[in-house]
Symmetry: C2
Subunit: 333 residues, 2 copies
């Protein structure tokens, strides 16, 4: 029900995914009457793979997380997350209010034992393909231990969905030298050096998209990670705007735009943010994927497909097991 | 003497600036014999406007700030900053080691009374023209009071060099709602709300380059500001690489590149990082401009021209006076 566009995006995206993947089973959670209207023939076409689960409430995009948690016990996001808790669904995908989704997910699913804080992980396009990064905004203040746990969880996710045995893990900092950074980052570096992870050291903001070496996973606190993510989004938008304006200047440049159109289109596809939509909440005992609120059909499909990949590769189970291994190592140390 | 390219960049850039601005007087500080060799005829051509001031040492790009401060008392950057302290020069421009330059500037020039920390301010291209931002890396941990002082200083700089009476000032955060952010940012917001500045509230990372409203000055702690800056640099590089690759795919795309060349060139010029080179150290009792170490002639010229503009507009004096006004207001409050 959520997101800026509601069912006009989530329903067509769902149907497209059902078409693309014959193994996919979807439960659409929300207002039954409204959903029936939107689904119509699809409920017949995808019988056995598509169903509606009624929820009478809906969390507003600007509603406070605590209010949503208290007053919206039958909201579509709450009910969807309940289905994950109860094992009825393997994952919940939502374009709704991020704060409310996180608070609800944390309340309903609970944390993996040993994990202090959930983190938001997502993917960014880079000159090497793409980079995974966390935390992108769940935690404004993080200790070294939090950063360390984010690295362990993110590392398992990257291993599982990218099929890389030893992902290169970097810690986001303002320089690569040992002396750089704040106390939390320096202490996290020490924890990572002794972690068994393929920790490559400090990386700077440009490493998210175009560093001098490929990094598979970049770890930061949620304040820094979120600012970095939004800064990259802004820069891409600025360059896109500048590109459009450059091609719109005069008759000659507009003709050049016609000739260059297929090239510009392929460029746009490569770095299309919709192809990177979908952030996972890591650290919870169940899978919740947050889609951008403004997602269109293509973008929301990407978020559903991310859920499919994470379920197929058992991400939550692997993260949970790895955290227990780390805890056991510490206790015996 | 400093930077990745030394005199091969700083000398031609200096001569270009002398040519462009007949009011400019330059003192090149460094190895006299070497400088004489590079300058040759220019010393005659620009007699009275170009001179050499000998310095026997040079700070390495990787040298630690504390070692430079202790062991390089006759380094080119130290001597140049001494000239500012002694009123012989109005500003010092350097492409050298940032940490050493900052430590030396702070040691030699001292802070403006009432300012706790110096900050690095620079300019970024945006869809609205450009945005000023600080701190871009001088301070990894900042209190609300530090952020507030950065805002006051940055505001004076923007007023002075942009000739805007009430610059729009935003505080970098992970959301625009009041509840967002860490304690320092929330407390800084309160200070700014009562400051008389044209404080517009929290802004997100995309506002540095492409927010939904124009912001003249964005304030952040040095860790966050530096990561944001580097993230933007990375994103621009990634898009530039993707653009090049898209036009290099095959014969057709290479032909399209020929047609689109003038457009791409104008785009490149608009967002050319060399046109934004030069960061000012704010909070010191003298003007020091840091050029990117990798600057080429055009980029280093931009840094020199920034120094010219700041001197012409009396930035240091205005910042210093405004800080005293704020202090007086507090004492009487």
């Amino acid at each position: 029900m959520g997101g800026d566009h509601g069912l006009s995006v989530t329903v067509p995206a769902s149907l497209d995914c059902l078409k693309d993947n014959p193994d996919l089973v979807l439960i659409l959670v929300g207002d039954e009457a409204l959903l029936k209207q939107h689904l119509a023939q699809a409920l017949v076409d995808y019988q056995g793979r598509l169903s509606i689960h009624h929820a009478s409430q809906c969390v507003g995009m600007d509603e406070s997380p605590s209010k949503a948690l208290k007053n919206k016990k039958d909201s579509s996001m709450r009910v969807a997350i309940n289905l994950v808790r109860d094992g009825v669904a393997d994952a919940c995908v939502s374009a709704g209010n991020t704060g409310a989704l996180m608070a609800t997910a944390r309340f309903v699913l609970k944390m993996i034992p040993g994990v202090d804080r959930p983190a938001i992980v997502s993917t960014l396009p880079s000159i090497y393909g793409h980079t995974h990064a966390l935390d992108l905004g769940a935690n404004v203040d993080c200790t070294a231990e939090h950063l360390f746990q984010f690295a362990v969880m993110g590392n398992e996710l990257v291993k599982a969905i990218e099929h890389i045995e030893h992902p290169k893990v970097g810690l986001l900092n303002i320089g690569e030298e040992d002396v750089k950074g704040n106390e939390q980052v320096k202490a996290a570096a020490k924890l990572l050096e002794n972690s068994g992870l393929n920790y490559i050291g400090y990386v700077e903001g440009d490493s998210l998209t175009a560093g001098h070496v490929k990094v598979d996973l970049i770890v930061a606190d949620g304040f820094v990670g979120n600012v970095a993510l939004k800064s990259i989004e802004g820069a891409a938008k600025m360059m896109g705007t500048a590109l459009k304006e450059a091609f719109a200047q005069n008759l000659f440049t507009r003709l050049a735009a016609v000739v260059a159109y297929p090239v510009l289109k392929s460029l746009k596809q490569r770095i299309d943010p919709r192809r990177y939509n979908g952030a996972s909440f890591l650290g919870l005992r169940g899978l919740v994927i947050k889609s951008h609120g403004g997602a269109d059909v293509l973008a929301f499909k990407t978020a559903i497909k991310l859920a499919e990949v994470e379920v197929q590769n058992d991400v939550i189970k692997k993260v949970s097991e790895q955290i227990q291994v780390i805890l056991a190592q510490r206790e015996s140390a």
